[in-house]
C-alpha cells in the first residue's frame, strides 16, 4: 500500500469566535509521509481542534494546511478515530464499518473487523458493545477507509491497562502494515514512546509547539528498552518545557 501524504501546517491563529482568545497560534510544521506524530498536551489545550482543522472539519482559521499540496477539504478524507467512538447507534457494527468513507464492500468491512478482533460482534448494535469494543469498532471504521491519513484522537483513553496495551499493539501493526501518515493525540507520554516517530508537545495560551522531539528506532522494532528511554526523553521535555511557563 502507498505511503500516506505529507502535511504542511502553517497556522497563524485559530479562534472560535472573533472576540474570543486564540486557542492555537504560530504553528508551523512539516510532517513526513508515513510518519507517526504524537501530539501531547494537557486537556483543553487545543489538540482536538488541531485535528479537526487537519481533517477539514474546521476551516475557520488564519493560515493554511496542505495535505500533499491540497487543502484538507479537497484532500481524500482521513480515517478519523474521534475522541468518543461515535458509532451510529442505529446501524449494526458491520453496517457502521460499511458506511466508512463513500461506503466499502462487505469483504473490506469484515477484514477490518477481523483485524480489530470484532468478527463476532459484526451483527450487534453499538449499545451492545463494551466501551473497549466500541473503540475498536471506531478504529475498524477508520481502517476500512484505507486512507493514507490516519487521525487518532485519544484512542486509548478510558480503557483499562491491559486493553491499552492490546490497542497499542493493534495500532502499531496497522501502522507497520499500511504506513499511513498518522497523527496520534494523547495525554499519555507512554503512548507516544510506544508508537511515535516524532512527538509534538503543545503548551501555552494560545497553544504552540513547545517541544518537537524525533524518536529514533522504528516503531515496529521498538523494544521495552527503547520505549523506556523514549519515555524518559518525552517526560524530560514535558517537565522542562511546560512547567516554568504555566
Amino acid at each position: 500500500m502507498a505511503r500516506g501524504p505529507s502535511l504542511n501546517l502553517s497556522i497563524a491563529e485559530k479562534r472560535y469566535a472573533t472576540n474570543a482568545a486564540p486557542v492555537l497560534a504560530g504553528i508551523d510544521l512539516t510532517i513526513a509521509p508515513g510518519s507517526v506524530t504524537a501530539i501531547l498536551g494537557p486537556s483543553g489545550i487545543g489538540k482536538s481542534t488541531l485535528l479537526r482543522m487537519i481533517a477539514g472539519l474546521d476551516t475557520q482559521f488564519s493560515g493554511s494546511i496542505q495535505i500533499d499540496g491540497q487543502s484538507p477539504i479537497d484532500a481524500p478524507p482521513p480515517g478519523f478515530v474521534f475522541q468518543d467512538p461515535r458509532l451510529l447507534p442505529w446501524l449494526t457494527v458491520l453496517d457502521n464499518i460499511r458506511t466508512a468513507g463513500q461506503g466499502v464492500d462487505t469483504a473490506t468491512a469484515l477484514s477490518a473487523l477481523e483485524r480489530t478482533g470484532l468478527t463476532s460482534a459484526a451483527k450487534l448494535y453499538p449499545r451492545q458493545l463494551s466501551g473497549g469494543m466500541q473503540r475498536r469498532a471506531s478504529l475498524a471504521r477508520a481502517l476500512a477507509m484505507s486512507s493514507g491519513l490516519l487521525i487518532l484522537d485519544e484512542p486509548f483513553v478510558s480503557l483499562d491497562r491491559a486493553l491499552v496495551g492490546e490497542m497499542q499493539d493493534l495500532v502499531a501493526e496497522i501502522i507497520a502494515a499500511d504506513q499511513p501518515t498518522t497523527l496520534l493525540v494523547t495525554h499519555m507520554p507512554e503512548d507516544a514512546a510506544r508508537l511515535a516517530d516524532r512527538v509534538l508537545i503543545l503548551a501555552g495560551q494560545p497553544a504552540k509547539v513547545v517541544a518537537d522531539i524525533h524518536l529514533p528506532s522504528p516503531v515496529i522494532f521498538r523494544d521495552r528498552k527503547d520505549i523506556t528511554s523514549h519515555l524518559r526523553t518525552i517526560e524530560g521535555a514535558i517537565g522542562f518545557r511546560t512547567r516554568p511557563e504555566i
Partner: protein, 254 residues
Amino acid sequence: MPSAQRHHRFLELASIPLLLLFWQVLAMLMAQRLFPTPLAVGAELIHLATAERLLPDLGQTLIRAGLGFFLAMVLGTALGLVLGRVRSLDRLFSGWLIVGLNLPAIVVAILFYIWLGLTETALISAVVVNKLPLVAATIREGVRNFAPEYDELARAMRWPLARRLRLVFIPQLMPFVLAAARTGLSLIWKIVLVFEVLGSDGGVGYRVSLFFQFFDITSILAYTTAFIAVVLAVEYGLLRPLEHKVLKWRADPA
C-alpha cells in the same frame, strides 16, 4: 427474563378479553336497555355490517382520518423541520404554534364548516389544522435534539447529502415521527367522529348521532366496537410492527 417476558405477553393478550368480561358483568348488573351485553352488541354488529351501512360508514371515516393524518404528518413534519433548524423562524412562529396547540378542535371545525360549507374538504382541513401543530412541535423538538457529533462524522467521511439524509438525518428523526404519528393518530380518531357529528352525510360519527336520536344504545355500542377494532388493528397491525422495526436499535433484544 424470558419467563417474565412470556408472562407480560400473556397479560397483554388477556387484557381485551378481560375488558369484554368486565363489560358483560356490568351489563348484567344494569338495565339491559341502557347497557346491553357484549353478546347483544355482537349480534347487532353482524346485522349492521351485513344488512345496514356499517361498512361504508367505517370506510368513509377511515378515509377521512387517513387523509387528514397523512396531510397533517407531511405538512407538520415539514414545518417542524423548518422551525427546528431556522432559529429566526422558530422565534417568529413559536407563538403561533402555542395558539395552534390550544385551539379548541370544535371551534376549528365550526369555522371551516362556515367558510367551506359542509364539505369533505372542510372536514379534512379541520382535522389537519387540529393535528398539525402537535406534529410540528414534536418534530421541532426532535430536530433540536439532533446530535451535532454525527453531522461532524458525516463531514469527516465527506458524505454527500443523500447519504447524510439516509444515515444520519432520517434515523434521528424517525423516533419523533413515530411519536408524532402515535399521539396524532389517537387525536384524529377522536376528532374525526366529532366533526362527523357536526356536519357530514355519513361515517361513524354521523351514524352514531342518528342512533343517539333514537336512544339506540346497542347500535351505538356496535359501531363503537367496530371502530375500536379498526383502531386496534391499526395499532397492532401497523404502528407497533413499524415501531419495532424502526426502533430495533434502541430496544433490548427480545
